[in-house]
Point group: D2
């Protein structure tokens, strides 16, 4: 009733602008929070479309210049859902203005940008978080619990991949709306920053720091028409990237991401093999966790397909009844809930600093692809 | 902007009150509709809890007597999400007051109640619909498209079951909040009205009318404490029910539902075998449709696991990007969207009359379990 | 070395003649047995093909008249792998001649034939067995162990189906080699005796006697050319059959078999739901057992997919190393092993008498399809 | 009838001695071949056990010294199923004696040994083959057909792993019977030669030559008791190995093998992503091939689970009826069939020379693990 509001200034109305807006709009119906989020301002350059977005989502007002947004007194939190090349400048300005800052991943286009952003929010002392949403898929959160409780024992192996197939056609242009992920100047890198960053964030959360890596990258389609220039231009991003890694805990890892794996749309999978138990998870069936427990009786020991829809599963007491699955967008709702809950207590992760660690790994991977050697990852 | 509002008067704040409220609150962000739903009034007997629900969901006001709700001029649509024994009286009164009526399934506790409700809404000429939400799971909607296009050819077999395990404990009481489904006086029947009604609604939508049935029922736990009376009382509902059926198109069917299938929380599955193709769907992985097409080349012919997350799948262009699944609650959002869209055109199904047909089948099943013979189903 | 031989007289060289021959030829390499099986005589009407079969499999000699086979002193066991209409006469004559008798299922074309066969072998006091091979798929044998140990607790539900799709084409003729299963005069019935008999045998082994049934049958293609007569003739067999059943232990069951389930070649599945645990098995992945144990910790409770390839699984210590699956034919090898082992101890099941119980259920199912009522099953 | 015999001299009666013996004993019942294999001589050092093996499998005679075996005139083919450290010497001597030679994989303990073996068989001009049996799993053979027909189009990615968990316990000793795979002196390497060699053989068969690799290895348990010496000794083998590779056709690959992946017994998986189609296969369900064809209509496009049990699948017309799966051992039977068929025509692969190419890759992988750089693989 008398809960204070948390007034959101959202930058960007694309795919991520929608998932973030939905998170803040829905979270209050399902979670008991110390502050009530309010969709205060949407900021985007195209005023007509910004207005339409504001009406659809119930934003109170519209800005077309992010600098104006940051100047406003009636905004508590700047949420950056615009392309990667805008993250650094907006985040630093927002922090300097004393706003809380949330930022879509990857934090910067490289660890140098990210480091500057970390310094800004830490210097300003503002709450900050990066939208590595997959930590809050309940099955992944449960994996974290199981590992932290020691159920897996010593970890031997970590394995992650993120497979897509949406850029196989040579006719697909680069650049511009929806296609800026193919434009190195905007995105910073290809699948390494876009997909492997997710894999690395989850991996370090679950399994600790990465010591060193060696990787390879490939750009299968070398030239594509550029939407903004109208010309065929060299493709600068990595279409595919795979790397080997050693974690600080002694476990070995393989990581891979590509947009050329025909048949997979967003197949983020991870597997962890421990001395006593193993875990497998798959974004295409995100509501399941596969779990193998060696302490089960031998005759009936097998991988358990756990349907993560019960009240004793993370976050699931907030939703429906057992057996009824939630979807992708709920991971953002959970992250919004944890962020807001953390404002009155321990700050929720991943912070900008956590995300910087991920960017240092991706930098090392890209470097190793050039040096063709192992590179330290931190 | 100037779209007319659709003012909702919701009856009930239980599990279904939440799914319906969520549907009306979210639908406008994802679908372009001729009217804008507004959560106008929540109606429930417990005023304190009704107020809390109103605040959480943003309802404009509260009523504690559904008769008062129906009298209000500022409500367009009465949505009945209260227990089964309240459906008939509320629906008829709402229709007589000229309100649109939506009702949670089953329509009545038996076909006699349902028939009276059909007569009321048809006499009043008001828009009406029953929340058989599974029709609007995109995979199920796609199944309907494929069948209507003739891809399956002549249908030989239909197979459905709905398996749960939540009432196995003999300690579970009957009656009262959350447990009225175990109380025959309130629910009308057990799994037949609760679970098989869903299976039958989908089946007749996909495969046409059911000609005749023969079934069996069982009540495994014969007595349970009653929450309201405080005494151990006879259990009147069916814990399990299975039946054989013949469809009007000549296909054979088996149906089964139970709350005693250890290991299954809400496993609604359906399979249809046609001359040329077959379809399988499963609520525990509701974002997939299994499809077998005999016209595929023999060497590589197999069941296709179709991940129903692409823009060419029903409803999915409204959501995220390929590979990212939606959940249970979205089926309600889709149904709200279709209902509202149908207000300006062809009325969306299932109407009260469609739901009556389902209740005639469940009545026939229950009768056959007593007569131990085949019974006509319409 | 000095182990006595078990001289086999095999009747029939079709599909089942091959599986039985393979069982007796291979069993000695993998199992330690009190007697050494020897492929002594193959008996079939077509002398040329019988000779070719004898050479391929190493049979010592050939007979073209089963009466001659039975008269031979150098044969210990008559194994009947010929079509159903020959079972009764051969089995009775073999028993009267004092031979052990093994018979492919179903025992007779109906329970009347089967009863006469039971009386013959029991009067003669000869070892006898029916090839209901699926009991000896290791996963199914393990299911039996788990049930007998009480791991499932009280059984609520049994569910079995056997789905095929090989007779959908109206062009397929009936009768003659490979197609006698479509000819009622030879087969006795359609899917009921061919497929449901397997389901019933396993079911009664796992879950005890069946009390009563009600079923329906259908013949989708009413007429087919007959290979032997050259004319289009009425099809007498049941193409599909489904029935409801009540077991003596109070559990409910559904059974179904068909040759019109597009996409399924030999999909025999069974599921058992008990108070504490559930089991699922599927012939298309016969080397797995799905097992759900409610006593697992709630957060990580799920269906376990047990890969039945370990040394502690039934029969599997005889084969390869963990992880390496066996196939269909091994169930026959296991049955041969158990039969031979049982000659010096307790006779292995299913005996002719056990198989008669199955035929009484199939008779009741077919009768109920005509009376449209429940029929007693024993 | 008058077909010439192929007299087998088998060296070794362990796990592989059994699979090879079974292959030669069974192949004639299922395949029509130009020569009839005969289990002529079993050769092993322990005479008592060799005699027992001979009796069980029907070997005509026994030798305890492989030199004696090679001298015999009544043996056509020497099949080497003994530990890796014996391969080279026996194979070269057999070739020099003019015998055909088959050898269990890996060919030598390293490419230097293998090269000498290749030279010997090529100089002698004798038929030769290495038991990389997984090529002849029907699903894998079908994958080869599909790739060769161009159904996948340009290949972007290859992915293989072979995961086991049998050596996790630190109590497991190294060396001696059944455990020589842990003894570097005998085995040559750990998982690289044992498991990755299989993955590489299949990969180069399906996807062509490997250009370069970079890998890492780990020995998780550094010391183990040695069965033969009785002392705790350093473990020399690699417990786990992963590597990145580039194929000559421009595709990228990841390979991994380990014996520390809790929950996996023999999980050999491979996946190939092409421009138009993708393939996945898994040894734990070896009778299935997962196939994704992008040319399917979008709405019903999905991974097809093809049950490789139909007559139009490779080798499957020799076995049972559709729907009935075969097992692990059948891959050896198929290889024996192809080898014998190839004696009168084109020699069957993989020859010793093919296997040498695999060993060159494994050598490069092990070298790169030391140099921490990319190494050429041929």
């Amino acid at each position: 009733m008398s809960k204070p509001k948390l007034r959101i200034g959202m930058v960007g109305y694309g795919f991520m602008g929608r998932t973030h807006s939905n998170a803040f709009k829905s979270v209050g119906q399902f979670f008991d929070l110390p502050r009530t989020p309010e969709l205060a301002v949407i900021c985007a350059r195209d005023e007509g479309r910004a207005n339409a977005f504001a009406e659809r989502w119930g934003y109170g007002s519209v800005e077309t210049d992010w600098r104006r947004l940051i100047e406003r007194d009636d905004v508590d939190l700047i949420d950056i859902a615009s392309p990667n090349d805008t993250h650094k400048e907006i985040a630093i300005a927002a922090a300097e203005a004393g706003k809380m800052v949330m930022c879509e991943k990857p934090l910067g286009r490289n660890s140098s940008e990210s480091r500057a952003m970390v310094e800004a929010v830490e210097k300003a002392g503002v709450a900050n978080m990066v939208w590595y949403n997959y930590r809050r898929v309940p099955a992944v959160t449960l994996a974290k619990q199981l590992i932290d409780e020691g159920k897996l024992g010593r970890i031997f192996h970590y394995r992650a991949k993120f497979l897509q197939d949406w850029t196989i056609s040579a006719d697909l242009p680069q650049g511009g709306e929806g296609l800026w992920r193919l434009d190195k100047a905007v995105a910073g890198s290809g699948v390494t920053g876009d997909l492997l960053a997710h894999c690395i964030d989850t991996a370090m959360w679950l399994n600790g720091g990465i010591d060193s890596v060696t990787g390879m990258t490939e750009t299968f389609i070398k030239e594509r028409p550029h939407t903004l220039t109208g010309k065929v231009e060299k493709v600068g991003i990595d279409d595919a990237c795979a790397f080997l890694a050693r974690f600080e805990n002694g476990s070995l890892a393989t990581f891979e991401a590509t947009r050329y794996a025909r048949g997979h749309k967003a197949l983020y999978t991870l597997e962890i093999n421990g001395e006593n138990a193993s875990i497998f998870w798959d974004l295409h069936d995100l509501h399941r966790l596969e779990y193998f427990d060696h302490s089960d009786e031998g005759r009936v020991r097998g991988w358990r397909s756990v349907h993560i829809t019960d009240g004793d599963h993370p976050y699931m007491d907030k939703w429906w009844v057992p057996g009824l699955q939630i979807g992708y967008e709920h991971s953002f709702i959970h992250q919004a809930a944890d962020f807001i809950a953390g404002l009155n207590g321990e700050a929720a992760a991943p912070t900008f600093r956590d995300a910087l660690a991920t960017d240092m790994v991706t930098d090392a991977v890209l470097k190793s692809a050039e040096t063709r050697q192992w590179e330290p990852a931190h």
